[in-house]
Structure formats: structure tokens, C-alpha cells
Subunit: 539 residues, 2 copies
């Protein structure tokens, strides 16, 4: 079982140093500390274990170190920044694991960009050696890239020429869409195994600058000073403590999340418990409560549960999202969050909730929201219902759902729209109507407003849900993944949706192709004495 | 070998009737007239042969029948409109053929929308019976959909529940992005094998209206009358004659296109010959010349050559685009086209050129543009160079390329941008610079402006091109397809790019998965006494 929780004092592959407003995140991968057997993590190559630490570090910077204005990502290995995802790990992994590994690493890189965009922290990739493949893809997720000019170090995306797969961790998309590299140059660069060095790399917009070895540290320091001087950040952070999880064979329970696995029927019930008891009313109270504050703890737990389901429970095809608690309490929390959203901690809590909800949107499982009288699909928890592929709400006067002002923009999807906007593309006026005088809706009203899919009555309720679950879990899991990836993201496309849609879908296709993963495929034969042989038919 | 040329008097599966401003295109698939053995085209299901006729009909309407304002697409079979792509054909086709088949049918449906959007012809799907799968996907490519309400006929997308594949001919994308069906309803509809009938289908935005059997024809006629009354169209069309093609074992030569196949090295030289002799200067002269007019004939030939390369020459991985002729002559043609672009025929010619260029963008082969002194990459032919994955221009004072005003918007890519805009996303000012006083550029100027990738001199020229060809054709064809699909379409996404990017990529992935095409897969076992069995792991 893969565990997604870690902390800096347990990191094996990264060193996180904070010096006032500057954090330095140094990669120093221990080649024997792998997540599975059969490969060594040479040359700062990575497996999922390395990326779980990176994701944790970025998350902690946001909550524990609000004073940090610049994050330098560099390497402790001489002459090598990072060689990317470990090829032997990829070559020996199942298709499903490869896909989930890439999705998580993509989310980590998007989290870097989310921090930069929304929290203003500037990420500087200090390439003190070659950055190849996923190594360059990590750099390109940063705001600025500087490369040592030592006559040897280069940036490269050698996946196509060497491995017969794509730079699929956002590489191709970020080349042309983020750094806006001319497409013919991107074509040349992506087929050039050895990559490009200083001058040409800069000319082609692949890096932002280069320094000779003797001036490299000075060059980075100078740039970091400029970044830091332009920002003033304060505050002391809060600590993110380990999550407490009780597990049995078929359940995984957190403080606010209950996950019940119905393995025979291939579905899970995931219940989010609403806030209980007195909740903080001021920023000071929130800071004091820290990571025990409901919206932070519940969503950290939800995030862990989603990752667990993805990687450790592949046969669970459907997740029934349920909530339990008081609608008023959830709305009260939203009110406090909305009122104080300019405070750094509240902003980080809201942004974290948004990232977890996007993780849900991008999870390759079906989601049904189930609304019963005890439920509290209100405000931030209403997003779960809106993120679900469909929803069932009991036609009963005791059931209700509610909106809060956080539904109006605090939790954008990857496509840049709110989930309400995505839902009502055809009738944008509906969104205004929903934010009218009334904010709590019973089943009839919810149905009338188009907020729910089905509203069976008491007599049909159990049968209808049971049949829906049975039907859903009987369908081809692959067809459902492709279908959900197409239907969930209507409307505009962004860098993120292009990465998760277009690029990932092509990569997954290639990850199935004999030219990559067959006995004569390039990925299979990399580093072996045997040679790859291709079926040259173009498809 | 599959032949993409046909004409109404040779149609086997469609009847095209023109009555003044109304065209009726009736599907009546002959079940034994298949393109390959091993399946029967029952219930108006289709194979590539059926779609080649549909594409031809739409093309001919545009050139031969400018007077037509409304096109009714219907069926001559009782109680069935169209059952979609033939499942036994799909089940027995190679992966590469399935992918190319879907791409062509997608292009045909986009051509319907292109006609509607740019030429104002209104397409009305008159569903006199059930439209399932590709049948509904054909309907949803039309502007309006009317369904007979006979208690039985439905619209449906049963691919996911019955076949374990996607409605990949634009179906899923058009549901949520074109018709803006609510995503939870789209989810339900796409998993409901039997589909939805009249009232509910309309409520869910799947159709625009429904009529009882006895009133169906009247309902359609009334709507057609309204459409026709709102438009006034005139003019008599020009005839599209069959293309004359000389073929040998390793060549395929048209009047203006020379295709030389270097099969051993897996690349082709595709040379476009520029206009020769006196060209029409007025619309009257263009109409008189008809389909022999260079921009129409050359691009019809180019279109045929591209389709031939895709389907009949799968092992050709690289196409070297070359041109021969006079830059001044090409620019003179562009001038006449630009001056007269409001005339229906000139508009259709330009729109056709744009579609052929988009067909090139979407072709899963690498393209290199090779510019030598005799070349005429000017104006419309410069688009070939800009569409190429990279370009090589001889550093020589006799070589030049040129822009015309048609490069500024007449030939949009699927992403809605011009190829120059897509190229210079990072430096939009460059586009203005290129449309400055000077419009012909020698190699040095072209390089300086960023219009070309490489400019080897005489000494290096042959070696550099030879090595580039060898390197390109040695790479994994699958990785190249995914790479090119990612790099060619930087910038915004549209309905079209979502269909060819996201949806197609997922479908291609699914078309490789054992759950669809393995011995126990749903596509393989459809209609057989054996049952599909899934590996339920979610990926």
C-alpha cells in the first residue's frame, strides 16, 4: 500500500531549507530508497515516493512558511539536476500504475504553478546540471529557469527519441503553451536526445538565463534577492500534523472522512462529516486552531482518501459521495472563510480546498452524490455534488442543499470556470438565479433549478440507487474514464486541462502501444543490450 | 486500396435530391456494398465507403449547388435513421484503420459545421427513426434535430454501455460543448443503451423538436420553409469533375501534385506545382474555368493525396513538402481571391483550401517543408511551410518565400488562429512585422523573421536534409503522433480541437484496451453468443 503522508523530517530524497524569505528545495535522491523493487534511482531520477515528498514540501511551504517569497529548486548531485522519472520503474510498472504516477506528478507540478499564481511565491529552477525529461518538466513548472553554462549541462526532453513515449508530465504542453516556444523549435527540441545548452536554450526560450559554473550560485542569489526585494511577506505559519487514520479491511476512517469499501460490488461510500461544535469566528481563532480547523482538516483527509482510492483501490470504480452534518454549520464556516479571504491563512485554506476538489474532478472513478435528510451538501460541500457525475436527492421535505458565496468563484475547476458555470453553460442566467435571495433549497426547488440529476421518492429511493450502482459498476472502466474525461470539462480549455486532457490521453495511448511497452518496445528495451524495433505504421 | 473519389451518380448508399433551395440527402445503405469483407451494413450502419459518399455530397453542395439554403439529412429506411458505424467492421479492423476511419468521419462532420458556419447553409437532421451511436453523432453535427415521436424511435449513444468504447465521432464533445447538455444529463444519456425519446430528449436539449409520425413530414417541411424564406441564395454552381491521377508503384501524380514514395526510407516527397500561364482575373473568368482553376484543382488534388497517404500508405511516416513554380504567380492568384472573396465561388474556394490545410494539420505524419530556389512557398502555399513540423530553407540568394493577405486570416487552423499567430504566440508583434511593406523574403530575412527553422548553406544542404529525414523516420511513430498532436495546436482550444485532441486521444487509448478489443472485450464480443468480461481496474 502506498502512503501519501510524509513530513520534512522523514524526507529521504529532498532537503528543505528555509532562510528567512528564501526556501531552497534540494533534490538528492537516494538510489536505493525506492517505492518498489527492481530499479535504482540513479542520477536524481524519481519514482512516486520522491514526488510524494516534493508535493508535501510545496504544501508545507504554503501553510508552514508564509514568509517565504522565493523557492529555489536545485540539486545536491554534481553536474546533474534531475534525470526525470526513472525509466526502469516505468518499464516495470503496470499500465494503471504508470497512468496514476503521471497524474500525481502532473498535479504536483500544477500545485507549484497554483502557488505561484495565487499566492505569489516565485519558483526558481536553479539547474546546476543537466535537466532531462521529467527533470526539465519540473523546471518548466517553475517561474524561471537558470542553467549552469559548464560546456556540458543541457536541458532536454529525450522521451520521444530515446523511449518512444511523450514528455507527458506537462512537458510538451508547457513548451508551446506556457513558454510559447515556437512549434518548429519545440519539434526539434523534443526529438533531440542530447538537448540544448546555455545560449541556444535561452534563444529558444527554453530557459531564462545561464551562468558559468563559477558565477552560477552568485547569479541565482542575485535573482533571488531581486525577487525577495519585490515582495514583503510576513506571518508565521501553522503546522500540518500527520493525519490520524483508522483502517480495517474494508474501511478507512479519518476525523471527518469515512470511507467504506464495498469491494465485491466495486464501489465505495465516501462520507464527509460537517463541522461540529463551536467554530472559529476570527482569523486569530483560526490560526490558533491551525490544522484542526474543519475546512483544512476535512479537505486534507479528503485528499488523502482520494489518492488512496486511486492508487491502492484500483478495482473500486464508483464512489458514492455522502455528507452528514448541519447545513447551517457548513454555511457558517463558509461565511467566516469568505469574510476573511484576504488573510493569508484563509486564502491558503480556500486554495487548498480548490485543489482537492480539482483532484476529485481528475480522478478516474465515477462519482455519484447521494443526498438524504441528514446530508449537508452546502457551500463548499455542494461542490462535491456539482463535481459528481450525477446526483440523487431524496424527494422528501427534510432534504436540502445550499449555496454560499464560495460557490461563486472560490473553487474554480481546471477549465477556469466554477462548477456552477460549467453545469449551466447553456443557461448562464441560472447561475444568477441560484445566487438570489434564497440560498437553501429543498428537493423540489433543487430539481427545478437544475442542481440535481434525479429526485426519487421514498418508495423508489433504495432500488433506484442500488440499480444505478450496479449498472455503473458493470460498465467498461476504460470507456467510463474516457467518457468522464470528456463530459466533466465542457467549456474553455486551459494549460491544465490541455495537460490532463490532450497530453495525458495521448500518453496513455502510447503507454499501451507495443512500440513503447511491447517486448521490442523502446521503453522496455531502454538500457538493455537488446534493441527496440518499431512497427512503423503511422496511426 | 481505398479510393476517396466518387460522384452522385455512383453513390450506393445515399440519394442526393435537389429541389430549388432545398437539398435532401437520404441515407439508404446497401448492406452488401461494403468496403471490406466480413460484415453487412444493416440498419443504415456505415463503413468508410458510406462516409466517403457523404463527404462528397457535402462538398458538391457547396460548389455545385450554391442555391441550396437548407439540407435535410434523413433516411429511406423505415423506423431507422442510422445505427452508426458498423460494429462488426470496427471489431474486425486494425487499430490503425479504426483510428483513420474515425478521423475521416470526424472531418466530414466538421465539414457540415464549416458549411453551416461560413456558408450559411442550414443542416436539418430529420430523424424519421432511431438515431443511435454514430447516427446521433451525425445528427448532432447538424444545426437542428427533429425526431419522429412514434413511441419507439429514440436518440442514443450506446457505445459506452454496449461496446465499451466512446461515442468518439464528436459525440461526447458536441453533447456538452455544442448543445451544452448539462453534464450529469450527458452522463446519464451516454450510459443509457436505449437512449431517450421525444419529450425527454427535447427537455434534455438532445433534439430541437419532435412530431408524431403523421405530422413528421409536415413538421420538417414547415421548418425547411422557414429556413429557406430567411435566406436568398442564387447562382449556378460549377461542376467538380473527377481528378485525373497517374500512378506507378512509387508515385501518384496529379495535374498540380506530384507524390513520390520512398518506401524503403519511409518518407514521401509531395510537390505542389504553382499556377502556370494566364490565370483568371475576374469572377466571370473563374466561373468559366470552374474546377480547373488552380487553387481549386491543386487543393482538391492535395486533399486526395493526403487521404491516400493516411489510409493507403501507413508506413510512410514523413512527408517532405515541396513547391515548384513562380512566387509572383501564386501571389497574383491570392490577390484575385482576396479581392473577390465576397463572391460565393471564391469564398467556397478559399474555405476549401482552409479545410485541406486543416486536414494536413490533423494528419498523423511528420511534415518537413523544403525550400529551394525553384520553390514558391508564397501566400496560400506558405501555409504548407507554416503547417509543417519544421522547415529547411537553402541559404542562397535565389531562394525566397512570401506572404499575401490570405495568410492573415483566410486559412484558420482548428484552434481558430492563423498559422502565423500560432507560430508567434510569444511575439504577436512579429505577425504585424511580417505584414509590413515587404512581402517577399530571402533566406536571411526569413530566418531573421522566424519564419523558417533551419537555413543550411549549399555545402551542408544535402547532408542536413538527408540526416534529418533518417532521424525522423527512425523514431517511434506513435510517440511522434502524440508529440505532433501536442505541439501543433498551441493556444486556444475549440470544439474541433477538443474533438481531435481530447476525445480522439481517449478513444484511441480505449481502442487499444483489452476491455474493448481483447478476446473478452466488449467490441470483440458484441452480437456474439460469448459475453464480454472486463478487467475492472480503473486507470
Amino acid at each position: 500500500m502506498i502512503n501519501f503522508q510524509t513530513a520534512p523530517n522523514r524526507y529521504q530524497h529532498w532537503r528543505l531549507e528555509i532562510s528567512g524569505p528564501v526556501a531552497t528545495l534540494s533534490m538528492d535522491v537516494q538510489e536505493d530508497r525506492t517505492l518498489a523493487d527492481g530499479y535504482k534511482l540513479k542520477l536524481n531520477s524519481y519514482d512516486l515516493g520522491v514526488d510524494i515528498e516534493l508535493a508535501d514540501a510545496i504544501q508545507r511551504l504554503r501553510f508552514q512558511h508564509p514568509e517565504v517569497a522565493a523557492v529555489v529548486i536545485t540539486s545536491l548531485k554534481p553536474r546533474i539536476f534531475c534525470a526525470g522519472a526513472n525509466i526502469y520503474m516505468l518499464g516495470s510498472s503496470s499500465h494503471a500504475f504508470k497512468v496514476n504516477f503521471c497524474k500525481f506528478t502532473n498535479e504536483t507540478r500544477c500545485a507549484i504553478e497554483d502557488d505561484s499564481k495565487h499566492s505569489g511565491r516565485r519558483y526558481i529552477a536553479a539547474l546546476n546540471g543537466t535537466a532531462s525529461g521529467g527533470g526539465y518538466e519540473l523546471a518548466i513548472a517553475c517561474d524561471e529557469i537558470y542553467l549552469v553554462d559548464d560546456g556540458n549541462s543541457a536541458v532536454s526532453l529525450p522521451e520521444v527519441p530515446l523511449l518512444g513515449v511523450l514528455p507527458g508530465t506537462g512537458g510538451l504542453t508547457r513548451l508551446v503553451d506556457k513558454r510559447k516556444v515556437r512549434r518548429d523549435r519545440a519539434d526539434v527540441f523534443s526529438t533531440l536526445a542530447e538537448g540544448l545548452k546555455g545560449k541556444r536554450a535561452k534563444e529558444w526560450r527554453l530557459i531564462d538565463g545561464y551562468f558559468p559554473t563559477s558565477k552560477f550560485q552568485e547569479g541565482i542569489d542575485t535573482r533571488v534577492e531581486q525577487v525577495v526585494a519585490a515582495q514583503s511577506r510576513r506571518g508565521s505559519g501553522i503546522k500540518l500534523n500527520p493525519l490520524q487514520i483508522q483502517t480495517t479491511d474494508d474501511s478507512r476512517n479519518y476525523r471527518y472522512i469515512r470511507l467504506q469499501l464495498n469491494r465485491e460490488q466495486r464501489y465505495a461510500d465516501l462520507t464527509v462529516l460537517g463541522p461540529e461544535g463551536t467554530q472559529p469566528a476570527t482569523v486569530a481563532e483560526i490560526e490558533e486552531l491551525g490544522d484542526a480547523y474543519w475546512p483544512l482538516q476535512a479537505y486534507r483527509e479528503l485528499d488523502d482518501a482520494l489518492l488512496h482510492l486511486r492508487v491502492n483501490e484500483p478495482e473500486i470504480g464508483l464512489v458514492c459521495l455522502r455528507t452528514e452534518g448541519s447545513i447551517e454549520s457548513v454555511l457558517a464556516v463558509d461565511k467566516v472563510l469568505a469574510t476573511n479571504r484576504d488573510h493569508w491563512l484563509v486564502r491558503e485554506i480556500i486554495l487548498h480546498m480548490a485543489r482537492v476538489l480539482r483532484r476529485l474532478d481528475l480522478t478516474a472513478k465515477s462519482f455519484f452524490a447521494i443526498v438524504e435528510p441528514k446530508a449537508c451538501f452546502a457551500g463548499n460541500l455542494l461542490e462535491l455534488l456539482l463535481a459528481a457525475d450525477r446526483s440523487y436527492m431524496l424527494m422528501d421535505s427534510a432534504s436540502s442543499i445550499a449555496v454560499s458565496e464560495l460557490n461563486a468563484g472560490a473553487f474554480p475547476m481546471s477549465n477556469g470556470l466554477t462548477r456552477l458555470q460549467s453545469r449551466f453553460l447553456a443557461e448562464p442566467d441560472k447561475v444568477d438565479e441560484i445566487f438570489g435571495d434564497k440560498n437553501v433549497f429543498d428537493t423540489e426547488e433543487a430539481e427545478e433549478l437544475g442542481l440535481i440529476t434525479f429526485a426519487p421518492d421514498d418508495l423508489d429511493w433504495e432500488d433506484e440507487i442500488r440499480v444505478a450502482i450496479e449498472e455503473r459498476t458493470s460498465l467498461s472502466p476504460d470507456a467510463l474514464t474516457g467518457m468522464e474525461a470528456s463530459l466533466r470539462f465542457a467549456g474553455p480549455e486551459t494549460l491544465d486541462t490541455k495537460i490532463y486532457g490532450r497530453l495525458t490521453a495521448w500518453q496513455n495511448w502510447i503507454f499501451q502501444r507495443p512500440n513503447a511497452v511491447g517486448p521490442e518496445g523502446a521503453l522496455t528495451n531502454y538500457g538493455k543490450p537488446t534493441q527496440a524495433h518499431f512497427d512503423y505504421k503511422r496511426t
